[in-house]
């Protein structure tokens, strides 16, 4: 079955957005090759502004690879090559003139495993603003840190121990710290690569709640293995399989009324 799919030219099934949100990111025919192996076979998708878009699909389907294209984190992998175009606010992010540092300041990322730096909680959050020179004074920096922690719903839990190491927090707190760290550089887009896969259900619920709140100010793209999570937090869902984007559309539509057989199979647990 897989051989047939990869061999045939591919057409993604799309259902338009009823809310007609503005488009933040536009990807056209994105191909990613690691060495000899093509991991993504030409993905085109529009990602709506100030909404949560969920990427779902079985392991190895290319959803994380595509996510990492959006802030060019694939550049850090030796042998990775990206073709096609991705525009952010109509500007091609693979343009040679584009400063990748600036891009990553606009497109933040939260990883699968919480990865706080071995620094204090304060310094973890202040790291981004410091390297980008976002704060004009110490008070300014403190305000950014406090606001970011508040927006990541972590401030009340850590306000008395901002100088303790971030690695000493619980897994869920660490992940919210990483979200606060990403928010602190005021990005426009936040990419989340399975942000809850290392967390327990309570911590997961908190992070999901947080994602829902962040939607008001940020464009969020989240990769998840949990279909319930995708259904709970996202407005739009994209289903990836074997390096293809199979189907994308409004989340409730994709989950209740998938147009593609494979989408239906996946969300009903037939494979994956």
């Amino acid at each position: 079955m897989s051989a047939v799919q990869t061999a045939t030219p591919f057409e993604t099934v799309r259902t338009p957005d009823p809310a007609s949100r503005p488009i933040k990111i536009h990807a056209a025919a994105v191909k990613v090759t690691y060495g000899q192996k093509e991991a993504l076979h030409g993905v085109s998708i529009d990602i709506a502004e100030k909404a949560v878009t969920a990427f779902i699909g079985p392991s190895g389907c290319g959803k994380s690879t595509f996510l990492r294209c959006i802030n060019r984190m694939n550049d850090t992998i030796a042998g990775a090559r990206v073709e096609g175009t991705i525009t952010l606010d109509d500007r091609n992010i693979y343009d040679p003139d584009l400063d990748v540092v600036e891009l990553r300041a606009r497109v933040g990322m939260v990883f699968q495993k919480p990865n706080p730096f071995p620094k204090s909680i304060f310094d973890n959050v202040a790291y981004g603003p410091r390297i980008h020179g976002l704060a004009r004074s110490k008070a300014d920096l403190e305000e950014i840190v406090v606001t970011s922690l508040q927006r990541a719903s972590l401030f009340n839990e850590v306000k008395d121990r901002l100088n303790e190491p971030g690695t000493g927090l619980s897994g869920g707190q660490q992940q919210r710290l990483c979200i606060a760290r990403a928010i602190a550089v005021s990005p426009e887009v936040i990419l989340m690569d399975e942000p809850c896969s290392a967390l327990d259900p309570i911590a997961t619920a908190k992070v999901e709640e947080l994602i829902d709140e962040l939607r008001a100010n940020f464009t969020i793209v989240i990769v998840t293995h949990s279909m319930q999570q995708a259904a709970r937090v996202s407005q739009r869902t994209a289903f990836f399989h074997l390096g293809h984007l199979i189907e994308e559309g409004p989340t409730d539509h994709v989950f209740t009324n998938p147009l593609e057989q494979r989408t239906q199979d996946y969300i009903t647990g037939r494979f994956g």
Partner: protein
Amino acid sequence: MGPLWLLALIAGLSFFGFILGHWKSVVLSGKGRSTLAARPGYYGAYVLIWTAMPALLILVALSIARPLLAEHTVRANLPQQVLDNPTQLSLEISGVEQVAAGLKTATPEELENIRIGVVTARSVFAGHGLPLGEDVRPYQLIAASALNLVSDGLDTAVDIAVVAALAFGLIFAFMRVKPRLRARNLVENTVLALLIAASSVAVLTTIGIVLSLLFQALQFFSMVSPINFYFGTVWDPRFAAAGSTESGQFGFLPLFWGTIYISFFAMLVAVPIGLFSAVYMAEYATSKVRSIAKPLIEVLAGIPTIVYGFFALTTVGPLIRDYVAVPLGLGTSGNNVITAGLVMGIMIIPYVSSLSDDIITAVPRSLRDGSLALGATRSETMRQVIMPAALPGVVGAVLLAMSRAIGETMIVVLAAGVAARASLNPFAEMTTITVKIVNQLTGDLEFTSPQTLVAFALGITLFVITLGLNVLALTIVRKYREQYE
């Protein structure tokens, strides 16, 4: 039989025992009376161990006891006036041993001639290719024949004991091979014992080295007070002339200063270069460049230090003298601290770079990604995230390199000279603790004078310094490891 024959016999019979044990267990299980408690190989090994172990232990024990018994025999047969002269005693004993060896070569006829005094023992032995330094004295002949008698008896005793142990072990173990015998336990315990023995050799050697240093050093401190030694500022041990009562001055501080000063310059070279190349290797170099460059850097550690020494002596030293020291008016010698530090620093670059590289590479990728995803550049990531995380390990690497620098001798002799002096001028000749140890232990030695014994005091001090650095380094490295596991 000689010990080699005995060892061969032990090996042969043990192998035979293995076959027997294996065979018996297979036969027993084949009869179907019950299943075996272990695989047949374990039964073979069981018999093998029982055959070889007791015999080997007896052989080792008797081999250790033999020279002691032989010496005891010789002493018992030496006249009192020889025994009363303790300084000559060991010479006398080895003399007797030579005569005993000579007696073994002589034919019975010649022995008879020696006994009745027709020929001298010395000429007979010389005829058999065993020249002696002086004529054989009568008491030596007596002691030598007694020694031969006892050692022949001992040889036979060893043979009998070993053969008996072999036979007993083989038969005993073979009889005990039964299906329910827990043969695995003995084999496992033997393996454990072997492993423990191997590790104890290393530990015991260290203890032995420390003790041998310690006793001689204590002897030194009974002649020169530790306060004069550790706080003395003049190193002038004089020569250990026979009968001289003057012992000179043994000030440790100039040597200590020289060691620290030279090591300081070595670290000044090695740490930045080593660290930067480690950062390049770990973070920037492609895997292809890395796979070529890393071994090339490590070659530096494999160059013999004497080669570095003459590189310093013939190239670096004169260059620094002619182009730096003389124009600045700071010195006129090709031997100086800067040269030694520079060349030694180059030598220890790989210690810093290789270890730091491993440590930097061990920093989790997720931290790099986290920093890069925030829009940090690679060098910002390096400075602010990776280096702080790797720092404890890097410090450990630097300390290890430093203890290497402190212990270095050859480069110092050739590059900085042997003059013990405490000066701030880096273009002056200076020397280190290890060089002075070599100095004091070269030539004719008398292990009772402070001139010689001071080497042991220096040695144990150096040992304590480097041990302290190593312990510090290991503690830091261990602490670092806990952070990610």
